[in-house]
Symmetry: D2
């Protein structure tokens, strides 16, 4: 299913960057952060923000809308300093308001701090009750404010002395082990934090000096360090180093980076990186667990061809999200790949009157069939996922009008059936089409000659085939497909 | 001096309204608040906001700019409920940012609360240190956030039990006796609070049923109650009742209003209502201490004529702020009043190049001399105050070009010489012209034949002549004129 | 009646300026034009525009909204050159569209030309038919485009040779003698044209060198020349010289100004300057026919006091448009003048729900009674005119609530009863209250103790008392008061 | 070369639609036009506009920006009627101004008319001189205004009687045989006109009744007719019928469509449809000369593989414009196709500082290499064209950084070397990289192992292989590739 036509929305992208002693004096790091946010734009288009500091003053620019609408050459000038964090956001809640834009910034008794995060605290309610109970007023319902105020709060006697930010962060991680990637900026350092389950992604990169960028990968000193939700944000000027480990706290200063601690998961719990990052959210060139997302998706296509073969003349995809899987399917099945549809990138929201006359034109405005590949052909159409199932029907009709004699849908992920409590805004159970129609009924509902999903086992196999897993432990969160939540279904826990 | 041409800026206007049991079900009180804010617009044009509630949900609309730009028929619809508070603001700090818009709203362990205030906490630094020290992060440097978090904080053991909002408010007032008028809204009540010195104004009104508004002042049951910084906000649909007393805490609920407590000033301290509200800030039809502002200003003009007489053909004013005093001066001196200048209301900011060629045209674009009243005349021009002294020179030049043979300036208030720590953004000592030039030198500097101020004694006399003062105690803050601060010059006090 | 609360709207203000050989090279005349338009803003707030030229290229900036919204420091930079014309507009037609913004600019076979005008062609339909009949397509229904294309059109054989702009202008004036003031800019000159009846105002000024502005009115060489709808646009940097005569064509070049011709009115016709410019439209400091508008209005007030005396305690006005007449009335009647109402300048459009509950608050939001001058008093309230009569009723109610014991309305102009075909957008006959209620009935309708108008004779007497009329001929257009149109009621004439 | 990274810009898309007697009364045809413009958005993003009519009144909505920014549900409501024309525009001139938005609309002696066109009049200067010489003023330098006024002008005596719009159109076509597609709307009809050379595209479609759209292509009566620059604008609700023939004038009325005339080319001239529509501009699913654009592009890829073979491991494209050719190349060469790059659709303009530090990041922000298909591979990268050659170098660097061991560029069109005078905004000769570097030098300049173009003969062969050409005459304009202009190089001709 096409990413642009979906009901799935991802909360956030985070980015942090700091210059080392080799960082040139007259350069503001905000440009690096801006580029990072543009490259993470697919993780959230609702609002974005950057906070920078030169070690004394903090500078903030936040706003509703795309990165390119929030920032301009004018307001970029004020984002001075050698260090900063940024955020791009798609809210899970209805409250898409200016006040919820991240990074969240406060003054505390131990100095100012800015916080940006991706994810959702599964025991949010308990943490919220604790913070309110200590006499703090909270302006919003956002996790960012909650995390920030929890970090500020003086902990119970004897537990943590003075500022002790690492101690405060560890304390928070123990209270709330899942799910988040957080960047926390103080006046002289950034902490990059990933939850112990590794549910949300976060990776580390080295900002290359200009000479290295031009001449290639010689191994001179880093000019700076960066962390990002996805490695696609590093482009060519930042060298991907590794993932931040589940539970790791990295401290980034002018002097370099160091691992402060790695917080354990609760006894007996496996790592649980969100498998839907592979299936759906991430950019194809991002790297998770040592492998490129595109290659995993292609592998899913191969697996799908093994599990659900069908005789046909041509294999294509719903562009562009299904491309990789379609190529994999084509290779495995030996059926030639061909473009079945092109996408009109200019089409946005539309003003078509909701009358019978013009209904369903939206889909044909967005996707155009390529006659030469469709007419008179038996076609296999690969989609990355099916959520509500609203788009696939009109697309099939489009292909049939263009002369397809058979249309077989193959979905490169298993049926989506359960809610997510860890940061993904999945529609309600009722809205998820897989909860009301099995694949046979869905095929007939959308007018396909056949429709089949990849199995959960097949997906896990495709994902883990080449993954460098932590201690070789099996470890992905498949809760939205299976209902198995890494830490049980969250309730309102006190603590 | 004309209000529009000045360097003096007033922080804020506050408004609160609640419907009683007679309030009609299908009516939102937000309209009443909106009208109130429009009528208080002169107290702050930087931002405005309204928070309402129906007893369960709170609704907020805030934004930068004039009331009419922040609110529209669309967003007014969402401001539902029988109760709400509003705010219009001119910041004293440079940080004119969305994040500082009031009312300030937070969720606390004891329920949500919204806070709006006018004034400035003189011991802000101590209070801030206390709040931060308790582990609260503060997003802004605004007093509103500080007040709100201070109210939320659990006080030291034994001091206050449970929610006990009145106790929390009293506690805050004892910690910080000056200077503010505050409205605090909880889900079922509004507290209206005025500082013990009565430095900032606040008054109480009764929302009349429609029948009363049409038929006049019969004495039926109130439909609701309102508080406002100035009675001008009551228009004709709310009947002015009285001022909120210095130190008074009024609780407003569906059932009616009651005085919870009246907090004393520190031993031996006199009330200290800001005398510049009379001179400059307030709308002429507002009522303070039982008298209409216009009549006080007219009395200032009379007093000025007694203190600083001069022979002339005509008395006029810098419109419109000097009008009342000019009429008073004319009556007292028996010199006829006449319009000397008209004001071009369309003129806003201008793009005139800062070259010698076009300098000073700003003033002549804004004010036009009335030739028939000026040519060949000895004129007395009344201004309400002189701050930086930038405008009066060009105005005098204008009058002379129009044929005035003598120009005598009479200022209906004493020289402004000291900073204000209680909510008025007075320019620095260096910028206040009265600190560098006495009236004789200033006359020659601006090209006047003479220039004289009203004396401090004269001003106080004019103000107190008909005022209903608390226990007949002398009590106005004249700090900006005399340097006598009601509570001493504020320092960073711990507590 | 207050200008801001009226249904009367004036079409346009025009401004033209050219530098002479003494004009400084590095200065753009656009600043002078911008200031002129700001000062003419009262004549039209719908759109404004400026076209300038340096003798080769033309530069245009036009847009919807107030002058200060259309122009900014950025777009002013591109308005280069020593010569330009400007326009500010309030449309009479519903088509308030970008496309109708003036100046109108075209390329013609004889070079580019820009045209701006104030007024309305009474024989528009005939002229339009002629232009269309010659095969020209017209994009709009505006007179500006019509005038421009009529000027461009090759006239019938033999009539005009070559460019011959003066000939073309004269031709147009003969075809269409009424009503307009026009500025026409070619690449090296501006023509300033006033209709033969002198119905719309236009005056001439001399741009003073900087030294003269500072030192006063010495008689050095002009730096440039300017024409404007009203002399208020000249401020202090342009010296008022005289009115452009009815029918005059002035040619303005780098070398100076000269009268090209003065076109006669049709045989036996009197001049017909719009008397409502005095009553209502013009700024009080503008000069028409050798007299200041303010003094004429004051004279109207005196005349009104003679014609319609009444016993009372105080005389005031609806601010600010009634001020001059009120002062005149007070002087003549020996009843003291006092401010009865102050105006809230911040109030714009409002979002008050159209329910009975809040109706009529608009007026009390805009005007506040001054209690000390109203309570217990018999008041006379002077308004400049009454159009629809919607505002005066609520104002009277306001005064009564503030304690007025008698309210007498005196209107400083005669009843408005007829449409205008010469550029003023007067409501329909049905909407004009004077067509349905006589003064007695209107008094009772609006709740006044009495209401009386100035007589037509009285108005004409007040206006002509000190006017320097052309050849001492009686000559004002009073059509909207009397139905006597200067050239008869316009019909669709062919020519 | 990627369409989004190019210097080539196409002027315009046009659309016209009319309902027949079967058109439902309560439906506005504007929705059909809006959808058409959205689908033609790739032909111009600068401005767009629609004019509709119900047979009496004309309604216009035009504005700068994308279709979705110009139109909204509010302003669509006013576009009433059963007939209308629309336009989407990218200007060739610098004057990207509101005033140049099409359709152009005027009132003429023979009724109102609205005109929209795609193309450029090669003898514009002569036509302009003629129109100006007749005494018409022209507001703009746009061809639309020129065409419109030329149509309005009364022709020389005896030539055309009365309105006679067909006669006027024919007259214009004879005066100016190239290059345009025009829609002209009068109050009861639309004329669709294509230049005699057929240089710019225009096609005809039948608006299907709702039942047909749902049930497929049964042959019921048309509900209406439409013309569009490309058939991609027809989606599924309009059935493609045929191209408008070169020189054809189609009259569309409520009663149906008919060919009024087909104007001949000058003696001996061949048809000259722009070959770059195939190469570059058109959407892949559009149909020209009986063939789908995608299939022509694939054929170009095949031809390129034949002409310029090279040994490699994988063939890919610069997405998405090179996709079809890359698939063709892969098939012909038997080298597997694979995605080499993905495109970040969110990236727009960027604020990257123009310093050495961050240069070239723009390209890597826009395109990301797919490691699994690039690393360790010899890659062939297909681009559709090379204009300035700015983008290809950074892309090659990107591929090398991702591990490509050889990068061979194959360009699916010949070198671009000459300006276009027929509506395409091609950079200057100096900017066209093919004029300064041959393919070998360009390869080394951009860092490719090899770089080769398709030959002109190869392109023509690929295009004409399946094309249904007019009378089998060879006939495409290849002027930008060969310098052979269909009508010679245009000069300023009088007529």
């Amino acid at each position: 299913m096409s990413k642009n036509a979906t009901g799935l929305t991802h909360e956030c992208g985070v980015f942090g960057a700091i210059g080392t002693e080799f960082w040139p004096d007259n350069v503001d790091i905000s440009q690096i952060i801006l580029i990072g946010l543009e490259a993470l734009q697919h993780r959230g288009q609702e609002s974005s923000g950057i906070v920078t500091t030169n070690g004394t003053t903090f500078h903030t620019q936040k706003g509703m809308g795309l990165v390119r609408n929030v920032f301009n050459s004018e307001n970029m000038k004020k984002l001075q300093g050698f260090m900063g964090i940024g955020h791009t956001r798609y809210s899970t809640s209805a409250a898409s308001d200016q006040v919820n834009c991240q990074p969240f910034f406060v003054h505390s008794i131990h100095g100012s701090l800015a916080v940006a995060h991706n994810g959702e605290l599964v025991n949010k309610d308990g943490l919220r009750k604790m913070v309110l109970g200590r006499g703090v007023g909270l302006s919003t319902h956002s996790d960012s404010e909650l995390i920030t105020q929890a970090l500020c709060l003086n902990p119970p006697e004897g537990e943590i002395n003075g500022p002790n930010w690492p101690g405060r962060i560890k304390h928070l991680m123990q209270l709330s082990p899942l799910s988040y990637s957080i960047v926390i900026m103080l006046k002289d350092r950034i902490y990059a934090v990933r939850d112990p389950y590794g549910n949300r992604p976060l990776c580390l990169g080295k900002i290359l000096p200009v000479s290295d960028r031009v001449n290639g990968f010689s191994d001179t000193q880093a000019e700076g360090w960066a962390v990002a939700s996805e490695s696609c944000a590093f482009l060519t000027h930042i060298r991907y180093v590794r993932e931040v480990y589940p539970g790791e706290i990295i401290e980034m200063t002018k002097g370099g980076i160091k691992t402060i601690d790695i917080i354990d998961r609760p006894e007996g719990k496996a790592p649980a990186f969100c498998i839907f990052e592979y299936v759906y959210f991430a950019r194809p060139n991002s790297i998770f667990e040592g492998q490129e997302v595109y290659s995993v998706r292609a592998q899913c296509g191969r697996q799908l061809a093994i599990e659900q073969p069908v005789l046909a003349d041509i294999v294509g995809s719903v562009p562009e999200s299904g491309n990789a899987a379609a190529h994999g399917f084509a290779k495995q099945s030996n059926i030639p790949f061909g473009e079945l549809l092109t996408k009109n990138t200019y089409v946005g929201r539309s003003f078509i009157q909701p009358t019978n006359r013009l209904r369903q034109l939206n889909v044909s405005l967005k996707f155009s069939p390529i006659g030469v590949n469709v007419a008179g052909k038996r076609v296999i159409l690969i989609d990355d996922s099916i959520v509500r199932g609203n788009t696939i029907g009109p697309i099939i009709k489009l292909l049939r009008k263009a002369g397809a004699i058979e249309v077989h849908i193959r979905v490169a992920s298993p049926p989506l059936q359960h809610p997510c409590y860890m940061g993904i805004n999945i529609p309600t159970k009722e809205e998820l089409i897989a909860n009301s129609l099995d694949s046979t009924d869905l095929a007939s509902h959308v007018g396909a000659d056949s429709l089949e999903y990849l199995s959960v086992d097949g997906l896990v196999k495709a994902v883990q085939r080449n993954a460098k897993l932590e201690n070789n432990k099996v470890g992905h969160c498949t809760a939205c497909l299976t209902g198995d939540y890494p830490d049980g279904i969250p309730s309102n826990k006190d603590w």
